[in-house]
């Protein structure tokens, strides 16, 4: 039962957000709340929460240098080391992190295990998760950059270039963006995968569905607003610029689809710092990826190092002196003086 509720509750939550946005047309006076106050609160929550989380992580030290090495170490000079997967230099780390962040290097390794003939384990490449994840994240980034044209006056030129490049397959008016298709397809894939795979369903939490439902709702509402339920873009931009320049003013007649989209976005970004979506910052701090495999050439210091109880050689020799002498093993104590202890 709880398996189903993990999916139902997040769904209800997202529908509730959409219904709440309806208030913006029922009570036009509330548009100040939806258009100005909620965005300010959400952005504040996002920034404060984000910083708080990163500072909390950064406050915990990394006591040991524990890179996961995925390639040959730098050892003998005639053996070619893997400078990216087993990085010993800062450039290597930069390369490894760039590969991880831009191309999801580790996920690219993904394989899936299958048992053939009931006994042989076979590991096939499984790049769908990598492809879906990469497509989703890149599309999201481009969409965000494209959105800058709503916030900048005069418009930030790269955001126009991006928009025209993204709309290169102009099939209808208004332009249909490639990234809109990609993000819808990718998020749908990630959601269907989570629902369809018995194993992934087992490990999924309500929060995993909530993030997906929210993102999907944001994307769908954005696409619908653009292509089917037109809103007054001039008015939207007026509002966006007024909010961003701290001279908030709500133009009339923007329309419900926009307020739904905006409220969903606000909920998403306010929730962001308290969710797993913080992996965006976390991956940068991950000690198994961002540390150098130079362990034996440079000493790494543990800031909270403390002494521990050890069994010293002297104590050891006290325990075993007589048998050591008998066996002809050298000892430290002056035995010629007739030491009587030990044994």
């Amino acid at each position: 039962m709880r398996q189903v509720m993990k999916i139902i509750w997040p769904l209800i939550a997202v529908i509730a957000v959409i219904l709440i946005a309806v208030v913006s047309v029922v009570v036009p006076a509330s548009q100040l709340v939806f258009g100005v106050i909620v965005p300010y609160v959400a952005i504040t929550a996002f920034m404060a929460g984000f910083i708080y989380r990163v500072v909390r992580w950064a406050n915990s030290p990394v006591p040991f240098n524990i890179p996961t090495t995925c390639g040959q170490e730098a050892s003998l000079d005639w053996i070619k080391s893997d400078r990216i997967e087993s990085p010993a230099s800062n450039w290597g780390i930069a390369g490894r992190m760039a590969m991880e962040i831009l191309f999801f290097r580790s996920l690219f390794r993904n394989s899936s295990m299958e048992k053939v003939d009931g006994r042989r384990l076979v590991y096939g490449g499984n790049r769908w998760l990598w492809l879906g994840g990469l497509a989703f994240h890149w599309a999201l980034l481009i969409i965000l950059l494209r959105h800058l044209r709503f916030f900048t006056e005069p418009v930030f030129p790269p955001s126009i270039w991006l928009a025209s490049l993204d709309g290169i397959f102009q099939l209808a008016l208004p332009t249909l963006f490639i990234t809109d298709f990609i993000i819808l397809a990718a998020v749908s894939y990630l959601l269907i995968r989570r629902l369809a795979s018995e194993r992934i369903r087992y490990i999924s939490l309500a929060s995993d569905y909530l993030a997906l439902f929210l993102i999907l709702a944001v994307a769908v509402s954005g696409v619908l607003m653009r292509s089917f339920f037109k809103v007054d873009l001039v008015a939207v931009k007026e509002l966006a610029v007024s909010v961003i320049t701290f001279r908030p003013a709500v133009p009339a007649g923007i329309g419900l689809p926009f307020y739904i989209h905006l409220l969903l976005v606000c909920v998403l970004i306010a929730y962001f710092p308290f969710s797993k979506m913080m992996h965006i910052a976390g991956v940068l701090l991950s000690p198994t990826r961002n540390s150098k495999n130079d362990n034996r050439s440079v000493r790494y210091v543990n800031p909270w190092d403390h002494p521990v109880r050890v069994h010293t050689y002297a104590e050891y020799e006290d325990d075993f002196r007589q048998p050591m002498i008998k066996a002809g093993i050298p000892v430290d104590a002056d035995v010629s003086a007739g030491s009587s202890d030990g044994g």
């Binding site: 390639g71 006994r119 210091v301």
Partner: protein, 552 residues
């Protein structure tokens, strides 16, 4: 003296391989949030004996049994765990981060050898971490406090402690999942912290605490006193003499030697690690190395690592202390897995800097081991590869012709060091027939033997065989394809656990250390014609056994 196939006696009590391999990968119908665990024979580790708990001054020492209903936990166990968690969240960024950022994408799920071998969904790395995360959420996050179970949060109770004990001792800290995780989440860190928390309640296992306690007192995990260690080394000396006619020197606790040699103690007591020891002794004799064994630092493997950072540090301290006392210049380390995790990633931080040592330089080739300039400890494979590269060894790979070799990358040298090429370089110079296992099962993707991180106890045999199944399966592949009959490796736990594992899953494949094979191939000055290999078995050269004498 030589122990062999400790687990073989258990084989008749075990279920059949076909039955063991018939794993159901459909997750249980019940929700994972239910912490109930059924302890079944063969799949859990015994509790640490009272005397060893006391010797190491561990908390809440008592006689107890995981099968008992009452684990005799301290009355305030909840408080102990929660303050232990708080403490470690402040000390380990890795742990805090890994509790927070998992997105449950599932990429790790089928990467764990225990999951592949058992099908138990809580052996998926993501779930192993969720066992801790759920408690973390409940007590350390707003969402968990507010939404409880819906947010994936669980109340801490005694059943969760029992669940943790079961699953944190079904992880061999091999780090394979961390290779595949898009954020590098390392279940080893999760398991290490999970075990540290359990230890705060006095819940630790016999096969971790007893070896650690032995190491503390006698310097090695088998509890060998110094005189017995000497006898054992002399016995290796005898074996070498009978095979080569050469009497090798065995320096022990020799002050002023150039190099301290530290190797896992299994090398001088257990087979087939024993033959690896013979290989070292022959090599050191042949190149005239000025070195010494130590009876005080007679264990390379650090069983403290499987218990807590403090105990790991305590046991590891002996190596530098002994190097200083014996006034050596640098340290050479033998074939071992987790020993090298500690030496490469922890030793210098734990117990350094070793200012009293010098940067390691090979006395034979003059090579400066620049990569060890701070820790001052060289891996035997780095050392030997350098000797071969500089043509300092006369080798006859034909003496290993009876072996069709494959190589198992031991987890820690592969994923925590990046020692991938040196062993292969050596094998290629000492064997004529070397075949790699499939690429998804070697190098950084290597599979654990199933018995690492203190899980190698006899009572845990079923889980060991299950965990070792993916490795054995890859061995079977090269056995069928190329006729492979020996698995070379560089880890003492491998050498102890592969014989029963391979006997069970892939009969006909033996286990050998690289330096055993080197000892076979090494042509020593003044040696008599070899008639036997280091195992005392007739030497087969180029499939013409009757001609073996001509080959020297």
């Amino acid at each position: 003296m030589r122990m062999f196939l400790r687990g073989a006696a258990m084989a008749d009590k075990l279920r059949k391989p076909e039955e063991m391999a018939a794993v159901d990968y459909h997750p249980a119908r019940h929700d994972w949030m239910d912490p109930s665990v059924e302890y079944t024979r063969g799949s859990y580790c015994y509790a640490a004996p009272l005397k060893n708990q006391e010797q190491l001054q561990l908390p809440n020492p008592r006689q107890w049994n995981p099968l008992d209903a009452d684990w005799k936990l301290p009355p305030d166990f909840k408080q102990i765990i929660l303050s232990g968690m708080k403490d470690r969240l402040g000390k380990y960024r890795s742990w805090k981060l890994f509790l927070d950022i998992c997105v449950r994408c599932g990429a790790c799920a089928d990467k764990c050898h225990y999951y592949i071998g058992s099908g138990d969904p809580k052996n998926m790395p993501v779930m192993r971490a969720e066992l801790l995360r759920s408690v973390y959420r409940r007590y350390f996050t707003v969402g968990g406090r507010l939404f409880g179970k819906l947010a994936g949060a669980r109340e801490l109770d005694e059943r969760i402690i029992k669940e943790w004990y079961y699953y944190f001792y079904q992880c061999s800290e091999c780090r394979r999942c961390s290779v595949f995780c898009p954020y590098g989440i390392d279940t080893c860190e999760i398991t290490m912290m999970g075990r540290e928390l359990l230890n705060l309640l006095g819940c630790s296992t016999e096969w971790v605490v007893s070896p650690a306690s032995n190491s503390f007192r006698t310097g090695n995990h088998l509890g060998i006193p110094p005189h017995a260690m000497k006898q054992s080394l002399e016995s290796a000396q005898d074996d070498i003499k009978s095979i080569t006619g050469i009497e090798v020197n065995i320096p022990i606790n020799k002050k002023g030697a150039e190099i301290l040699f530290v190797t896992p103690s299994a090398d001088y007591f257990a087979s087939p690690a024993w033959y690896t020891l013979m290989g070292y002794l022959m090599l050191f004799h042949e190149i005239g190395l000025d070195y010494t064994f130590s009876t005080y630092a007679s264990e390379g493997g650090d069983f403290g690592l499987f218990h807590s950072a403090d105990l790991a540090k305590s046991l590891n301290a002996k190596i530098y202390a002994e190097a200083e006392r014996l006034k050596v210049k640098w340290i050479l380390g033998g074939e071992c897995g987790h020993m090298w995790r500690v030496i490469h990633q922890y030793m210098d931080t734990f117990n350094g800097p070793p200012d009293f040592l010098e940067q390691p330089v090979s006395p034979v080739t003059g090579t400066k081991f620049d990569n060890t300039r701070s820790t001052k400890m060289v891996h035997i494979c780095e050392f030997t590869a350098d000797l071969i590269h500089n043509s300092k060894l006369k080798l006859e790979p034909g003496r290993n012709d009876k072996w069709k070799v494959t190589y198992h990358d031991s987890c820690n040298p592969a994923r925590s060091m990046g020692l991938l090429e040196e062993p292969r370089y050596i094998i290629n110079h000492i064997c004529n027939h070397f075949y790699e296992m499939p690429e998804n099962t070697i190098r950084e993707r290597t599979f654990c033997c199933g018995s690492g991180a203190g899980l190698g106890s006899d009572e845990n045999m079923e889980m060991r065989l299950r965990g070792g199944y993916p490795r054995a399966n890859a061995v079977q592949y090269v056995q069928e394809k190329h006729g492979v009959n020996v698995l070379a490796c560089i880890c003492a736990i491998d050498k102890a656990s592969f014989p029963p594992l391979l006997e069970y899953w892939v009969p006909g494949v033996e286990t050998a250390g690289i330096h055993e094979l080197l000892g076979n191939a090494l042509i020593m000055r003044g040696e008599k014609p070899r008639e036997a290999d280091l195992r005392g078995e007739p030497l087969v050269v180029n499939t013409a056994p009757e001609d073996s004498a001509q080959d020297v």
